[in-house]
Subunit: 393 residues, 2 copies
């Protein structure tokens, strides 16, 4: 005798991405108001801040500012002094960083009605999100991204992760934050490389989804390079918007194989690993986009002019489009193995997005190794002709 019980339910996810300046200055009530709206009357909710050490060093008054900001709060208390954790890939590689956050959850009695707030680059946010979503089966987390990349891409999405024995993002969860606060002033202390690196994610999303956004980036490239330009603010806003739109209309928790937002990423992930993360994520994506754009030209989807128009844009912005590590044959084989890793992480059929035309992405299930190698030669030649910023630095 066989019987079956059927189970079915839906869960609704909702969060806002706020754009502001001076988030923790006393006159700015955005963050406080958010917390108050979500407070639990008669019960003081705890907040644990976890802060990127690199960001903290550049903003030495931050801890005090936060303390003052919460001084007179009725509904919330700081669980402890902020936990300061080394920023960058190291915090996703070193299991003690994850452990330290989980320990703090235990030590300070952070519960499912408390908040863990991550402040920092994409790496810290990935780590804090993961720690929060697995502690007590999910503590609410808030993201405060402090890099261009995390404000316009990684910080506004639903993915959390750490590396496992060097394997990038091997462990993680899909779990949206409760809110994201983007403070444009936090970006002032970024060095030139990080400032510009995040722009490649905007080019990425524009190329596969929005030709007019792409053209806007081209037309404003000079101004975007400038620090504190309102064009950079607009770029971050539009890019974040495109990412959010894609997530909600697509496949938020990536149950299928198609991941258009990973345009340019199959080689980028590999390149980060190969250079021991000396190449920044956004820089690797810039090279990855260059490869995939040229590949799209080589298979006849776009013209040579269109392909090099994209490469030129990246070059003009100061983004790298090639890396000398790719000069050797061995390195090129390792790069190609990124296609296999990509398939494995996604599972199922290999699915790579390429350009159908400028502004429109399209899934492909096979890449020709020889054509990929050819894109590398084209990019290398381009660099030799142009003597681009990256190789000169």
């Amino acid at each position: 005798m066989e019987r079956v019980l059927e189970q079915k339910f839906t869960i609704e996810y909702q969060y806002n991405v706020f754009f502001t300046k001076g988030l923790f200055s006393l006159g700015n009530n955005l963050f406080k108001n958010f917390l108050t709206v979500h407070s639990n009357p008669g019960f003081k909710q705890k907040i644990l801040f976890v802060i990127d050490e690199g960001f903290m060093d550049a903003h030495p008054n931050l801890a005090e500012q936060i303390r003052n900001y919460f001084m007179e709060s009725e509904d919330f208390i700081l669980a402890s002094e902020p936990l300061v954790i080394p920023g960058g890939e190291i915090c996703k590689n070193d299991p003690t960083c994850l452990d330290n956050i989980i320990q703090a959850v235990d030590q300070y009695g952070i519960d499912r009605h408390s908040y863990i707030v991550g402040i920092g680059g994409g790496a810290i946010l990935d780590l804090v999100g993961f720690a929060a979503t697995i502690s007590h089966r999910g503590i609410k987390h808030i993201r405060i991204p402090t890099t261009v990349l995390s404000q316009n891409d990684s910080g506004v999405g639903v993915k959390n992760s750490v590396n496992f024995k060097g394997k990038k993002n091997f462990l993680g969860t899909f779990a949206p934050p409760k809110a994201v606060f983007n403070d444009f002033e936090f970006l002032e202390t970024l060095d030139e490389r990080s400032w510009i690196a995040g722009v490649s994610e905007a080019i990425k999303v524009a190329l596969i989804k929005d030709l007019s956004f792409y053209e806007w980036i081209e037309n404003n490239a000079e101004k975007i390079k400038e620090r504190n330009s309102s064009e950079m603010e607009d770029l971050i806003f539009r890019c974040a918007d495109k990412h959010l739109e894609h997530i909600r209309n697509g496949d938020p928790f990536e149950l299928g194989s198609s991941r258009p937002l990973d345009f340019g990423h199959w080689s980028a992930h590999k390149l980060e690993q190969m250079t021991d993360f000396e190449v920044l994520h956004g820089e690797a994506v810039s090279i990855g986009i260059s490869i995939d754009v040229l590949y799209s030209y080589l298979i006849g989807n776009i013209t040579r002019e269109e392909a090099f128009r994209v490469v030129e844009l990246m070059n003009k912005l100061g983004l790298p489009i090639y890396h000398p590590i790719l000069d050797t044959e061995e390195a090129r084989f390792i790069l190609l193995s990124g296609l296999l890793d990509f398939q494995e992480h996604l599972g199922g059929k290999l699915t790579i997005v390429l350009l159908e035309k400028l502004g429109v992405g399209k899934d492909y299930h096979h890449l020709d190794y020889l054509l990929v190698l050819k894109t590398l030669d084209l990019l290398k030649n381009f660099c030799q002709d142009q003597n681009p910023v990256y190789e000169a630095s």
Copy 2:
């Protein structure tokens, strides 16, 4: 200038709980059919089995049976020999068990289109579910529960977890399985204690939600105690059904504070810890229910007769209703601290479900310590009068 982007989407979760016998016998196509329906044409999906060592010892032919079962499968391949992991709480306590599963995911290239299948008691299923849901941000997992408790309660739900430094279920996820297969024959090798322990979860759900189910259990208590009775099959089916119904109509991922399915559990969790898990989960729940039922009597919600009717039922089934470790004052204080742990894990206000009347639960936000102590005295006296099974063993 402040701007905001709003994000909102829903995710639908769906899975079936199948009841069968001889799941891996060659004539039984239930499991194969499930996999085929969910297969990816032209692509061989991998399956990794993780099996409870205690269950494996009792079913020494299982690995071979599974090998034969998949021998001629077109769409699926076994990723490797089954991973065998010690069953019981040890596998949730020892981080190397989690690590071994994650290592296997890496080593055998288990991807998001593969399946990890856990076979075993609630502890193994909690562990395997957790490992699967954090690997590659979520590999599909299938549960094959092999204890009464896991077939009627833990295995059919949406929670996964491991312990962290001895803290029960400190790390975990809410992530439903893709399917659950309950094979009644797998229960044949359970010892007497485990066989009956899981019945307390049925009494729990009946007491708070379904008086007629409770009365059915009373009327069939003798037969339920018997091995391989069809009454036990019915009890498991009805109990699983009630749990599934509660999950889908309630708050599947427990975003609020109310957790009626945790009736009797605040003290049970503590008691398991205090006895170093010598007391089984179901046994601890039986004691926990006894405490909360007497408490419901002491605050006037049910009569003394009703309260002791429940205690008698448990006693008659051979379930413990008290534990001698609770004789000392120190131990009683530790037990009471379970209320604080419970609040912390849930977060926010303490919320404990008690009986409003038989068959109906009700949330309370405060428990009177002295009244809890009184329930312990009443239960101890009851045991001394009755010389119940538990103390005699």
